[in-house]
């Protein structure tokens, strides 16, 4: 197996075109690196089960319920006190804090989930060693493709035909 190839394109359209061509040839597109999200690519490489929103929902509702339970417990069970003749279980006003807390919990949980699913933090990564990778966050669109067979020459040529400005090998 040869090392996967990293091809550099000037536009996302060129990258997508090259990816389609390579895939048609039976090569396996591993990933793409772009300075901004490109819908075709995010669709192509999206994780099959995106955990972020389910986790946010669970954390949000769970935290809200827990906060409501805490309010109820602390004012009805733990230390019931008469505050201006209000009912101990003043449910309408007990809804506000759970909402705020639920949103906060959803945000924190979502952030954690996103990092976890992205595999971040990852300060040291083989890609960072590749010189042209630094332009993937600026003005270049990179495609990582694994050739279907041991010799990657065909793939390289195909990529260059499709408009790759530069094709490099990535060594893990």
């Amino acid at each position: 197996m040869s090392a996967p190839l990293l091809a550099e394109f000037a536009t996302p359209e060129a990258l997508v075109r090259a990816m389609r061509l390579a895939q048609a040839d039976g090569h396996r597109a591993l990933d793409a690196f772009t300075p901004f999200p490109v819908p075709d690519l995010t669709d192509a490489f999206a994780p099959s089960r995106n955990p972020v929103r389910p986790i946010m929902a669970m954390a949000g509702f769970g935290a809200a319920a827990a906060m409501y339970a805490l309010q109820w417990y602390s004012s009805v069970i733990a230390y019931p006190l008469n505050s201006g003749g209000r009912p101990l279980h003043s449910w309408p006003v007990f809804l506000l804090v759970p909402f705020e807390f639920g949103v906060l919990a959803a945000a924190i949980a979502g952030l954690v989930a996103m990092f976890w699913a992205c595999g971040l933090p990852r300060l040291h990564h083989p890609l960072f060693a590749i010189p042209q990778f630094e332009r993937a966050s600026q003005d270049r669109f990179l495609l990582l493709v694994a050739a279907k067979d041991a010799d990657a020459t065909a793939l390289r040529e195909s990529l260059e035909r499709a408009g790759a400005l530069l094709v490099a090998e990535m060594h893990a």
Binding site: L81, P121, L123, H124, F128, A129, I130, P131
Partner: protein, 219 residues
């Protein structure tokens, strides 16, 4: 482009992020532990005293009743610290030359009071009343512990508000027959739950809700 970070940096980054999340929880836990610890509550801290008065000797050994010295415990909020002359009522005959008792003799001779270090110190905004607790059948040892074993006095209970509330919310386990209030070795009998409930009835002890209201202790 060269690697900015070496591989180990990933671990460092994960630890840093995890500790940002954990810090508030840890801080809260630490604070809570500290607040409950003797550093704050002074529980079980033995205080040096000008005269090494031993409750072990006087109570455990000689069997002197609490009220001999703490005279106002049944009548007032403050249990009372004995005046020097109470000490000298015996020590004018016993241990008359003991060097340990020199400050006591000096106090009486010069009319200067002894300066004891306070062991049980409630904040100024807490109004504890000994007489009511005694009248309702809460014994000395419930709060002060086994005083008859203490060489120097120490605070047996944490004296935190939560600790007070534990009993105010459920006084039954700590209620004794009146004659046992000053019994330092009292142990609850097997049917304390039933007895306690009866005492609550008989002595008109208020409901837990009422006893845990702010105005019971704070003014």
């Amino acid at each position: 482009m060269v690697q900015i970070f070496h591989p180990g940096a990933d671990t460092v980054a994960r630890v840093v992020l995890a500790s940002i999340g954990a810090a508030p929880v840890l801080a809260m836990g630490l604070a809570y532990t500290l607040w409950r610890s003797p550093y704050v509550t002074a529980q079980d801290v033995t205080r040096e005293q000008p005269v090494p008065f031993s409750h072990e000797h006087h109570v455990g050994g000689l069997g002197i009743d609490c009220r001999y010295c703490h005279t106002s415990v049944e009548k007032a909020a403050f249990a009372g610290i004995p005046p020097t002359e109470t000490c000298m009522s015996c020590h004018s005959q016993e241990w008359t030359n003991a060097p340990m008792l020199a400050p006591v003799r000096q106090s009486l001779a010069e009319g200067r009071p002894l300066h004891w270090n306070r062991v049980h110190n409630l904040p100024a905004y807490v109004y504890f009343n000994h007489s009511v607790h005694v009248a309702k059948g809460v014994g000395c040892s419930t709060c002060h512990g086994e005083v008859q074993t203490m060489k120097l006095m120490r605070q047996a209970a944490p004296l935190t508000m939560g600790w007070c509330l534990d009993c105010h919310r459920d006084p039954a386990p700590n209620l004794r027959p009146h004659e046992a209030v000053f019994d330092m070795t009292w142990k609850p009998p097997a049917d304390q739950a039933a007895i306690g409930a009866r005492f609550i009835e008989e002595r008109h002890i208020k409901s837990p809700e009422r006893l845990s209201e702010c105005s019971i202790c704070h003014r």
